[in-house]
Amino acid sequence: MFKKILLSVDGSDHSLRAAEKAIELASLSGAGSIDLLHVVAGNTSKSDVLHHGDSDSASRKRMEKLAPIEGLIENAGLSVNTEVLHGQNGIAEAVVQHANDNEYDILILGSRGLSTVQTMVLGSVSHKVMKHVKAPVLMVK
């Protein structure tokens, strides 16, 4: 059933919890691999370049941030394909497009849980994703 699994993470602690659930699901459904997706928002580009010098160093830092999640998946005996996208129109839009274009069986999301004010201004990424992704979505709190 859930053979083609997409795990979308932002690199926070919630990502690790989402990764654990993705691994459980993969072992239940006998999937051999998990696709890992990380989307960089436009404003994140700005602060990352500012803090890490240039685009190359920023990319390296992002891969470092994803390494523990990759490690977790690999230690469970699964292979992992990591993709970092630059969400020019917003994180949710990029996740939705990637998930729909590649016809995943399930999308697993880690939810960061913003405060009410933050959600009001930024909007909820998980909400937008759940609304527009065709595949079933598992949101891990």
Partner: protein, 487 residues
């Protein structure tokens, strides 16, 4: 890909996206160009001409397709004194000189020198810029009624809340239209753009600034041009890196420096103020789907068209709406992450950041702030690497002392190093082991010469161990010289 094919790709790979993004950017550029003119103390047309001309020229000669350049706050803030003391013509001359300096910088391929500007200085730079843009708006609140505050609050509310409903139109533009309409209908009598100066009703024309071509003129404009050059390139290359990251492509930083130079030279001759790349507008452009040269071109043409057609309406915009937009710009410019991380980064980095910001806020000059930050970073660096460890041990029944040196030997560390050498030991031979050290300069060689001299005065033989190739080369070249000259 050959040059022609690449040029074609850079212009036309994304025609629809670029044209639409350009229109969105033009709408967002108008209020900023006017507000930055007002900060600099010139008529709004100077900033509008600049944004048109710079965006147009950069679309052709820039090194980073998809990046938007125009009149900016960072540059406007550097011009205030020049405009106040000498007037517009000197500003135009300074703009041309800035362009020439940037062009030279690009031709000499000096963009790699940007690596000497530490990240904490760059973060200080954008934070200081944000603070100055914010404080420059406070003058508009002086002697104003509650209506001003209410309109600014309304502007900000629309800017931040509208994107929750739709992203089809830029929220800054909607805010300006609504607030202008309210001010007109209610006849509030608040100050408007029209009160701040004239708007253009013609296309810019070529003019040579009417200034005396003397050394005295050069002496007036040169310091300003130099500061504008540094700040303009700093912000442009930072923005180029951000666009590189957002679009996951690379760009030619030296070409961009040359392009900024050509754009400023052209702009100065067409009556515009010096400008540079704009972080906020470039992010808006990429987010709106722009990525090619056509996006900047489309923004320039749309901007000029709107000004010529809608000039009469633009003068009705209340200053309150522009102040709201500038407050949004300053909030967006500030790097909030640096505040949240300040307790986690090294204390020296945090100090450099704070000193850069404070220097700018005190002097109102971003260039001086950057200089202070770079100098302080260099001092901290020298201080950190100037720690030398010297480990003394005895061999051959105590007749030989071995000093194992660990660390960098240079002007800042030799004093410490020399204090750790003991000349009162009863020995026949002293060995300086520099296997884990490196001799960097004249002071390091001078220190070794001094040790030799002092030991030799007591008939103690001095030898070295583990001199690496560069160090021994340096010692051969200048060693003994300083000893002979009696140091």
């Amino acid at each position: 890909m050959n040059t022609l094919a690449q040029t074609k790709h850079e212009w036309f790979h994304n025609v629809r996206g670029d044209i639409i993004a350009g229109v969105v950017v033009a709408l967002a550029l108008i209020p900023e160009a006017i507000a930055f003119s007002i900060i600099a103390g010139v008529d709004p047309m100077v900033g509008l001409y600049a944004s048109f001309s710079i965006a147009l020229v950069i679309s052709i000669v820039g090194g980073r397709p998809g990046m938007i350049s125009g009149a900016t706050g960072a540059m406007a803030l550097l011009m205030i004194t020049l405009v106040a003391e000498h007037g517009l013509e000197y500003l135009l001359a300074a703009t041309i000189l800035t362009g020439i300096l940037q062009l030279i910088f690009g031709i000499l391929k000096l963009s790699s020198f940007m690596k000497f500007i530490p990240r904490s200085v760059m973060i200080g730079f954008v934070n200081a810029l944000a603070i100055l843009i914010f404080t420059s708006q406070l003058q508009h609140f002086v002697d104003e009624t509650w209506i001003m505050y209410a309109l600014v609050a309304l502007t900000l509310a629309i800017i931040y809340l509208l994107p929750r409903l739709t992203n089809a139109v830029p929220s800054t533009l909607v805010a300006i239209i609504i607030v202008t309409a309210i001010a007109l209908i209610m006849n509030t009598g608040v100050r408007t753009v029209g009160d701040m100066g004239a708007l253009p009703d013609t296309l810019p024309v070529f003019l040579i600034p009417s200034i005396p071509l003397t050394f005295e003129t050069l002496a007036i404009i040169f310091p300003y041009a130099l500061a504008l050059t540094v700040v303009g390139l700093l912000e442009s290359l930072l923005t180029a890196s951000i666009v590189d990251d957002m679009t996951d492509t690379e760009s030619d930083k030296n070409k961009e420096s040359r392009g900024q130079g050509i754009a400023n030279i052209t702009t100065g001759f067409f009556g515009g103020m010096a400008g540079c790349a704009m972080i906020g507008q470039s992010v808006i452009n990429v987010k709106s789907g722009g990525s090619g040269r056509l996006s900047s071109f489309s923004a320039a043409v749309t901007l000029m068209f709107l000004i010529l057609v809608l000039g009469n309406l633009v003068v009705q915009i209340p200053m309150a709406a522009l102040a709201g937009v500038m407050i949004m710009v300053s909030i967006g410019t500030f790097d909030w992450q640096s505040l949240m991380n300040i307790h986690r980064i090294p204390k020296t980095d945090a100090t450099v950041m704070v000193v850069t910001v404070s220097t700018v806020v005190y002097t109102h000059d971003l260039a001086i702030g950057v200089l202070a930050g770079v100098v302080l970073s260099a001092i901290f660096f020298a201080w950190k690497v100037s720690k030398v460890e010297v480990d003394k041990s005895f061999a051959d029944n105590g007749t030989k002392a071995v000093y194992a040196v660990e660390g960098q030997l240079f002007f800042a560390s030799v004093t410490d190093f020399l204090e750790k050498i003991d000349y009162s030991d009863k020995i026949n031979e002293a060995v300086i082991d520099v296997t884990h050290s490196h001799l960097w300069d004249d002071s390091a060689i001078g220190a070794l010469d001094k040790i030799e001299t002092k030991f030799e005065q007591q008939n103690i033989k001095v030898s070295y161990k583990g001199l690496n190739r560069e160090s021994s080369k340096l010692k051969e070249e200048i060693g003994g010289l300083s000893k002979a000259s009696g140091h």
